[in-house]
């Protein structure tokens, strides 16, 4: 996740020592990866396109293939202000306004020469690894890419946690697919035989980096929080959720990042924002839903200017919910890949998501839950109002709702979004004042009108 935007430069100033080690490292890793992609053909490396949620990065490293993530390409295009044009082209070629804009942005980018974030052309895929984690769009997306590139597709179907837990059956079903479908497809692609020891080695490195990443995300429990776990968070999850999990580079990146954040905690510093050090922390929010990428910086500023810091977010769990304790386990390589895919945020049932957000509200001493509902994404958006009502009812804290899109600038109205954020934060002020005035000053406000608990807290256990 690297481009040379101002945002990045600001975030890059994160090092406690005053240097920006972790961000420099992330930049270098990304540059290396894209360089490798442009040379893939001449170096005889195979290229696999796949999705972020439920990605099998360690397995790809074990086979020495290079991953490309179309979702990341789409959000990068948006941050470089190219998405409007790409989406427009996709719509002109017949894709409806209602199709997920990641897909249209990607298609438009392909039509424009498939130029990646570093300005170099991305190689076409030799294989499409369709790791399906609940989003039907994934299937349609790769159907389109298959048509475009005429290359094989292998699908890994992750069953939805409709019962709110992972059963042995589900896990076995996935291990069977890995063994009988995915691994043979990689063997055919590369001409190499599956080397389980190599996979274990990658998984061991994953687990180490995962420990450090969780420590970074959980640093937000401090007051003030040293990080913004949403806007800043998307940078921190970058290497873990994309091509680098299971590599030495990722291990190094996360230990560096953790040191930097620890130093900020020790100094009692708050987050760095695109405008520099954030002022006093006034609001601690949990945010549900992906960010908007076309106006990412402006969006962030709307929070930072008001002293609102995001202490936990669900979006930084799309590529794995590590803070509930899951780590890749080298002792059970295929089972652990199965568990990883099954546990991604959008593969969790609504009651599980609600429980998780409630836990965040409590563990991170949040003032409220804010939902950014993006037009594109059904995996996120379906059920969000229910989530909101439930969290309000359970915690008595303020819930807020804003609407934007991932990468379509037509769905980001700055005035409207700002108005809602401000109104929401003022609502929190009022709730606080009310609480101060009420005797004792502790305890939550009564639940808002019209909210009937549909799921009782804790009824659905976490795996």
């Amino acid at each position: 996740m690297s481009d040379s935007s101002d945002t990045e430069k600001a975030v890059a100033a994160h090092a406690g020592s005053g240097k920006d080690d972790s961000m420099e490292k992330q930049k270098a890793m990304t540059a290396d990866h894209f360089r490798a992609l442009t040379r893939a053909r001449e170096e005889g490396k195979k290229v696999v396109y796949t999705f972020v949620p439920g990605n099998l990065t360690e397995l790809m490293h074990a086979f020495d293939v290079l991953p490309v993530y179309p979702e990341i390409n789409a959000l990068q295009s948006a941050m470089r202000q190219r998405s409007a044009q790409f989406i427009g082209e996709a719509e002109r070629s017949g894709h409806s306004e209602d199709v997920c804009t990641y897909v249209k942005c990607d298609l438009g980018m392909i039509k424009n020469g498939n130029i990646g974030p570093t300005g170099e052309k991305l190689p076409p895929p030799d294989l499409l690894l369709l790791s399906y984690t609940g989003c039907f769009t994934f299937m349609k997306w790769f159907e389109l890419l298959r048509q475009e590139y005429d290359c094989p597709v292998v699908m890994l179907h992750t069953p939805y946690q409709s019962e709110g837990r992972v059963t042995d059956n589900m896990r076995q079903y996935m291990v069977d697919q890995l063994r009988n479908e995915v691994i043979p497809a990689f063997e055919r692609l590369t001409g190499k035989t599956y080397d389980e020891d190599r996979l274990r080695e990658c998984l061991r490195k994953s687990a180490r980096a995962e420990d450090d990443m969780v420590a970074v995300l959980e640093s937000a429990k401090h007051r003030p929080s040293p990080i913004d776990a949403y806007f800043g968070g998307v940078y921190y999850i970058g290497p873990m959720f994309t091509a680098f999990r299971g590599t030495d580079a990722a291990v190094d990146y996360y230990s560096t990042l953790r040191r930097e954040i620890d130093a900020r905690v020790a100094q009692g510093l708050g987050p760095i924002t695109p405008e520099g050090e954030m002022g006093p922390e006034r609001y601690r929010l949990v945010v549900e839903g992906p960010p908007n990428w076309t106006s990412f910086r402006e969006f962030w500023r709307m929070f930072a200017e008001e002293g609102a810091v995001v202490v936990a977010s669900s979006y930084t769990k799309v590529g794995g919910v590590y803070d509930l304790g899951f780590r890749h386990d080298p002792e059970h390589p295929l089972e652990t890949l199965a568990d990883y895919c099954l546990g991604c945020y959008t593969n969790r049932s609504l009651p599980q998501r609600i429980d998780l957000l409630e836990q965040y509200m409590n563990d991170y001493s949040a003032d409220g839950l804010l939902i950014n509902s993006v037009k594109s994404c059904n995996s996120f958006s379906a059920g969000q109002l229910l989530i909101l009502r439930q969290i309000e009812a359970r915690t008595g804290l303020a819930g807020g709702f804003i609407e934007t899109d991932l990468v379509d600038p037509r769905y980001f109205s700055a005035a409207n979004v700002k108005n809602r954020i401000e109104s929401y934060l003022q609502m929190i002020d009022q709730k606080r004042q009310q609480r101060r005035q009420s005797l004792g000053g502790s305890g939550g406000s009564p639940p808002p009108p019209g909210s009937t608990p549909l799921f009782s807290p804790g009824a659905e256990g976490q795996p």
Partner: protein
């Protein structure tokens, strides 16, 4: 009645109109003012505040008259007549300015070729306008100032265009027959005249003019008491003087509304209109738990608790479909005033089903329907229902409609919208108490004024205590 009167002021800067409310220390509404929001938001805010100050002074005058045994007997009639004459003074002042600016505009190079004709025609038109303004007939016009769309711009605009049209077609009424001939020779068209008006009215609206109570009341009073015995006149004069002499201290002003960011207010004195509408509606109807506000640019569904504190809200996304502005487009498309839409829709006998409330396609939808042979009133009834349907979706998302429900914002004055709302609430939620305040357009400004009054304990806005 002496000493300084302390007041709190709320200003609601909407996309169409700007409103101000003045509260006295006991929380009673002392004055209200409204004007059209123009390109200069700060000035619109100042004019609305001035209007509210004027109405506050008239409220003080009521108190002064009531306190005088002699004057109290006929206080209402006197006061109403004085108010009318006061409005007339304001109107004449603005007309004078409009004349100056219009004549100056006629000297622009752009209209050099028709300058003489233009000047002649403008003078005639303004002579006629001023005669009308000073004639008693203006009183009836001004007395019907209940309609919020009746700002100087609208009143002067319709009179000007009537005269511009008439003087082009025939010479009747314009001073001197030579003007007519001259107009023809120099090709001054109706459009030329309206072009001047459009340019001039913007300038007039965007430069400050003295419309204060203090600046205009004495002339009005003279006219009002003309012919009365001198002793009585003196008594009225004294009553007015005490009001003029009363100093009013605006302790704090809080701004809200669509344009609140542009107000020259401290950040601490700015509140979201969602919170203000919640609090304002609670003040108007204390048992209210759900508030629907349909303004020019957005529609908001708000839930409040027993003290008027917002607990949840939803508003339209970036798309202004189904907001007040949409009715504005429809009105333009039909060459009607916005306030005429509701009454027309109420005449509908067979509502047409309208699918889109998209502001951009409003005109197309309307023309389609007309070309299919549907009647205007039936189309309008359908449009009003479509707007309310969108609002119903927001209400559902915000948590539904509680027992006591209040409808605010400009659209709450529209009978057809209210009718559609009642029907849909009944269909979806059953029996509910629907409140609409006659002053619903001021709800946001009222909420802002209440926030201003809460003032001091409110100062501890976002919590340093949290960071500590």
């Amino acid at each position: 009645m002496s000493g300084t009167l302390k007041v709190h002021v709320g200003v609601d800067l909407g996309s169409t109109t700007t409103k101000a409310v003045v509260l006295d220390t006991s929380g009673e509404i002392l004055g209200r003012g409204i004007t059209n929001s123009r390109s200069n938001y700060a000035l619109a805010s100042e004019i609305a505040r001035e209007e509210a100050r004027v109405s506050a002074r008239f409220a003080l005058l009521d108190r002064a008259l009531a306190a005088d045994d002699l004057l109290a007997t006929d206080a209402d009639r006197f006061r109403n007549r004085l108010l009318t004459l006061f409005r007339q003074r304001q109107h004449v002042t603005q007309l004078g300015r409009l004349r100056e600016v219009s004549l100056a505009e006629a000297h622009a190079d752009r209209v050099k070729h028709i300058r003489d004709g233009l000047l002649g025609r403008l003078r005639d038109i303004f002579d006629a306008l001023e005669r009308d303004a000073n004639a008693p007939s203006i009183e009836t016009m001004l007395a019907s100032e209940k309609r919020s769309s009746d700002f100087f711009r609208d009143r002067a605009g319709s009179a000007f265009s009537r005269l511009a049209e008439a003087s082009g077609a025939s010479c009747s009424g314009a001073g001197g027959s030579s003007v007519c001939g001259e107009g023809k020779r120099t090709h001054v068209t109706f459009d030329d005249l309206m072009g001047i008006f459009d340019k001039a009215i913007i300038q007039v609206e965007n430069t400050p003019i003295d419309l204060t109570f203090e600046g205009n009341i004495r002339d009005a009073l003279d006219a009002c008491t003309h012919g009365l015995p001198e002793a009585l006149r003196e008594r009225f004069r004294r009553a007015v003087d005490t009001v003029v002499g009363r100093s009013i201290e605006e302790v704090r002003t809080v701004g809200t509304g669509y344009g609140r960011q542009t107000l020259p207010f401290d950040r601490r004195d700015v509140r979201s209109e969602i919170l203000c509408h919640g609090l304002g509606a609670h003040r108007q109807f204390p048992t209210t738990r759900t508030v629907l506000d349909i303004g020019g640019q957005d529609t908001k569904a708000i839930q409040v608790d027993g003290s008027g504190i917002v607990t949840s809200f939803q508003m339209n996304d970036r798309c202004a479909a189904g907001c007040g502005r949409y009715l504005g487009y429809i009105a333009d498309e039909m060459s009607l005033g916005v306030h005429e839409l509701g009454p027309l829709a109420m005449k509908s006998t067979r509502r047409v089903k309208i699918s889109s409330t998209c502001t951009v396609f409003a005109g197309a939808e309307l023309r389609d329907r007309l070309s299919l042979g549907d009647r205007r009133e039936d189309i309008l009834a359908g449009l009003h229902r479509a707007i309310i349907l969108r609002a119903m979706a927001l209400l559902a998302r915000s948590g539904g409609i509680e027992e006591t429900f209040t409808f605010t914002g400009g659209v709450a004055n529209n009978a057809a919208a209210v009718k559609a709302l009642r029907q849909l609430v009944q269909e979806n939620y059953g029996e509910r108490t629907l409140n609409i305040s006659p002053g619903s357009i001021y709800t946001g400004a009222l909420g802002a004024a209440l926030f201003a009054q809460r003032g001091e304990d409110d100062e501890a806005r976002p919590g340093q205590e949290v960071a500590a």
